[in-house]
Symmetry: C2
Subunit: 280 residues, 2 copies
């Protein structure tokens, strides 16, 4: 998986690249079939929606689920990030966002890197989000919305919103969003299950609630350049990982073949991963 020069230029201009149907239905089935098991578990890694049992986001499945541990080493997701940063990457965050039919709540306008900088002391925006759709995304099930070009402004002032949804988030003010949208508009990539989006960690994004009867489960890998690892361990390790070992990719067929992967949290999350640590 190698980006062309045109793709790199597009990424630098718009802040994202969209690859419709990059993974096959067979590959996606391996992942999607595992999601109900993960969401059914009473683990701290499952964050549920406000006033509902539906899972809003599941963290760190690559530490305790075989299919997702393979996905976390997939060259189609990892190599483009290595290419853009020109160095190896490690897994800063791994999540499976539910946005379940009828229950999936909104995500306010935000940048991911704002949180990583403020909470985790990640030195620079040399980390990349890679999303894959486990369900088809359409205009009705709360697609991810981007403001193209907004990544070029770096970290934008944000306010900590701890009330709107079940998950606290550093969110960008309405006045700023208005200006950014005047400049760049809004786009919402839609496509079949298996589609992939690469997006810059400063790209401003949001998504509405899902009122439709269609789930919109997506996996997000946040891949950080190894030299840019976080400096503070304030958040639990299942949210912001502390192992900066470069990812070693598996072969391209790793979702369909039985490659061995470590599952260190298979029997439970270690106590240390639930706690803040004084220093990195």
């Amino acid at each position: 998986m190698k980006l062309t020069q045109a793709q790199v230029a597009e990424f630098e201009r718009d802040g994202y690249l969209f690859f419709p149907g990059l993974f096959t239905p067979e590959e996606i089935k391996v992942l999607l079939d595992e999601v109900p098991n993960l969401y059914a578990q009473a683990r701290p890694e499952n964050i549920r929606e406000k006033g509902s049992d539906a899972v809003r986001t599941n963290f760190a499945a690559h530490m305790y689920s075989r299919p997702f541990a393979r996905l976390a080493r997939h060259p189609r997701m990892v190599e483009p990030a290595e290419q853009i940063f020109g160095e190896p990457v490690y897994m800063h965050q791994f999540k499976i966002n539910g946005k379940m039919a009828f229950e999936g709540d909104l995500w306010q306008w935000h940048q991911d890197y704002g949180t990583w900088k403020n909470d985790d002391l990640m030195p620079a925006a040399r980390a990349m989000n890679v999303a894959i759709f486990l369900d088809a995304v359409n205009e009705f099930n709360g697609p991810l919305m981007f403001i193209p070009g907004s990544h070029t402004l770096g970290v934008i002032d944000a306010e900590h919103d701890v009330t709107t949804t079940s998950y606290p988030l550093w969110t960008i003010t309405n006045d700023t969003i208005r200006k950014l949208v005047e400049r760049g508009g809004i786009v919402a990539p839609k496509g079949p299950a298996g589609s992939m989006i690469l997006f810059h960690s400063c790209l401003v994004h949001a998504s509405t609630a899902n009122l439709s009867p269609w789930n919109r489960v997506s996996v997000y890998l946040s891949l950080c350049a190894v030299s840019n690892h976080i400096r503070r361990f304030k958040r639990p390790e299942y949210i912001a990982h502390r192992d900066f070992t470069p990812i070693q990719c598996l072969p391209d067929d790793c979702l369909l073949q039985d490659y061995d992967v470590p599952l260190p949290w298979q029997d439970g999350t270690p106590a240390s991963a639930l706690q803040a640590l004084a220093s990195a």
Copy 2:
């Protein structure tokens, strides 16, 4: 404004008709310019969003605002309803829904006639919604979503939801919505300001929150066949009108010319209109 036979057949099959750009920008400006004045008033007719000053819906502006009083008599909105029912219509409900930028909350899946039957004892579904867009509607500002064909099932069981938003609503269960969408899908008509939608009072509809910086103000006339007038005055009159006089249309240029219209609530809402009455 006369519907063709093909349009009538389409309405009967799908439950709605969409007329993009039916009103001109000049006509819409007359209405939109009046909205901030209406929304700024401290009247009981302004229902505000949960936890916000933004107006969710304004009722009965045709009783105290000259431009909207003219709109309420507009042949492009009234004549199609008269044609479909084959008799004169009266104004059952008149509202201007804000769905304001950033603040506009969702409307859950519901049918309007369910409420009119249960609360107002309207005998049959011989009432029609006519919406016009005062702002352009796009995929990002919470467009109205319909389940085509759902009107053919008549009144569907509903539950009274008094918690989700600031406005209590008889809402349809997720299981039913799932079945209806399997059968009819979802559509969301989008278009410029001035577009009009006619939709059946049993058509199941909803809309998501507006996270965009674009307002999505729309006017909804609910026109009821005169012989089908409501039999109970449980709700305030500004929500469910008690005057069954047939609407007399003004000429087609009534938004741009200075036709005289009565404004009986211009100096305030009469006390009787705020109260339930024992009988119709």
